[in-house]
Amino acid sequence: MAKNMNLKLKVWRQKNKEDKGRFQIYDATNVSPDMSFLEMIDVVNEELIKKGEDPIAIDHDCREGICGSCGVYINGRPHGPLREITTCQLYMRHFHDGQTIVIEPWRAAAFPVIKDLIVDRSAFDRIIAAGGFISVNTGGAPDANAIPITKDDQEWSLDAAECIGCGACVAACKNASAMLFVSAKASHLVRLPQGKIERERRALAMVAQMEKEGFGSCTNTEACSAECPKGISMDAIAQLRREYFKANFKVRK
């Protein structure tokens, strides 16, 4: 069994939106390699509380890699040093004794820091509200088998639909672009026959909202896809571009 470790944490602390914030160093002692990263933070926080200090605020919920709540920048990378996982799925065995870990919130103008490592990602919700849906009301749906969908299309759609909305793409991108997030939703829907009906409206509305929120534009560095915990492919972004270009020329106003 691997030995427990002592680590140094350099953590961003910021009281609230208005506070300027700064880094603070903490010791994480006797860290078991079988702890998850968030459990390590739990333990540090318990110690801080006992010392009468303010614990580190961090968003987290399901702790199994699907809710998309957790997400911090660890040693220069979103969700830490491994690929295709979220912060909660990162285990301390991937660090070594004596290491310093720099922990920062997502940095993007569109994701203002609320406290410490917690940022406001409501911009994502507003983008979905602008067009990330199929306009069907409850009731009236035809039989689920009325429109056959090829297995390929279904799988391809699901590849994009797996996005958990964590924001790692924005955090990783040097432009803080949200293209992977937006295109994942647009691609998920347009790859299905049900989603093709309002494809133009959707592409235009989602992109317009994305720009309004202040995200940067995509310059194809592919950092987003490389850091995406669900491995969403760049083909989603290409698809959104096609959708958007066609929509601009096709819609009547």
């Binding site: 961003w12 103008a109 040097k174 940067g216 490389a226 571009r241 601009n248």
Partner: protein
């Protein structure tokens, strides 16, 4: 028309403009290289001079139009690129303390503004050496003689080579990125496009580089 301007000035539109102008510029590079390689023929510059005279002829209307287009697009490509860079920088806000981008992206893709800027400076110098004096001005002698003179200067040739390496960097990302920007991404073909982009960049870079190297060595070995 309002919708069109809005479209090409949207974040996706701006990038589309970068891709289209970029691809056009890449095509021009190919044409330019073809002409320049004539310099390597050991005919005292005859073939090259003929070629440049045809290209420079005021009666060659198509080429004249393309030439104006080229200048406009080159300028647009540069200005648009700088604008994008500024806007994107603003989107980040506060910078990261610890930043390890090499883990998720290539150096080429992240440094387009840098490689582009140096290429732009190079272009200005390049035009001042060749295009303005020989095409617009009344420089004595032929362009062929101008080339020999310019490249016999090791400093000038060295800068030229540096710019070409950066041009290759710019193209390695630029070519494949242009296809992605046009929405052309496919599991099967994208690896080929990426490979093609690298080969294209290397060929362009090596092709152009061969000329200063050739003339530099020629001048150093004293031959004419």
């Amino acid at each position: 028309m309002g919708w069109f301007i809005k479209f090409i000035d949207s974040s996706l539109g701006k990038k589309l403009v970068m891709a289209l102008t970029g691809l056009f510029l890449a095509l021009f590079l190919l044409e330019h290289l073809g002409g320049n390689l004539l310099l390597l023929i050991n005919d005292g510059g005859e073939a090259f001079t003929t070629f440049s005279e045809v290209m420079a002829s005021p009666y060659n209307i198509i080429i004249r139009v393309i030439e104006y287009g080229l200048f406009i697009l080159m300028f647009y490509h540069a200005v648009n690129g700088v604008r994008l860079w500024f806007l994107n920088k603003r989107s980040r806000g506060q910078a990261y303390e610890s930043y390890n981008p090499s883990a998720n992206s290539t150096l080429f893709s992240r440094t387009m503004i840098l490689s582009g800027s140096i290429i732009f400076i190079f272009l200005v110098i390049h035009l001042r050496t060749f295009f303005f004096p020989y095409r617009l001005g009344d420089a004595p002698g032929s362009m062929y003689e101008g080339v020999i003179e310019a490249f016999s200067d090791p400093v000038y040739s060295g800068f030229y080579l540096l710019a070409l390496v950066l041009l290759a960097f710019h193209l390695i990302h630029g070519v494949q990125s242009a296809f992605q920007t046009l929405g052309l991404n496919h599991n099967k073909y994208t690896p080929f496009i990426k490979g093609f982009g690298i080969v294209f960049a290397v060929v362009i870079c090596a092709g152009f580089a061969s000329i200063p190297i050739y003339f530099l060595f020629r001048s150093m070995s004293g031959g004419m």
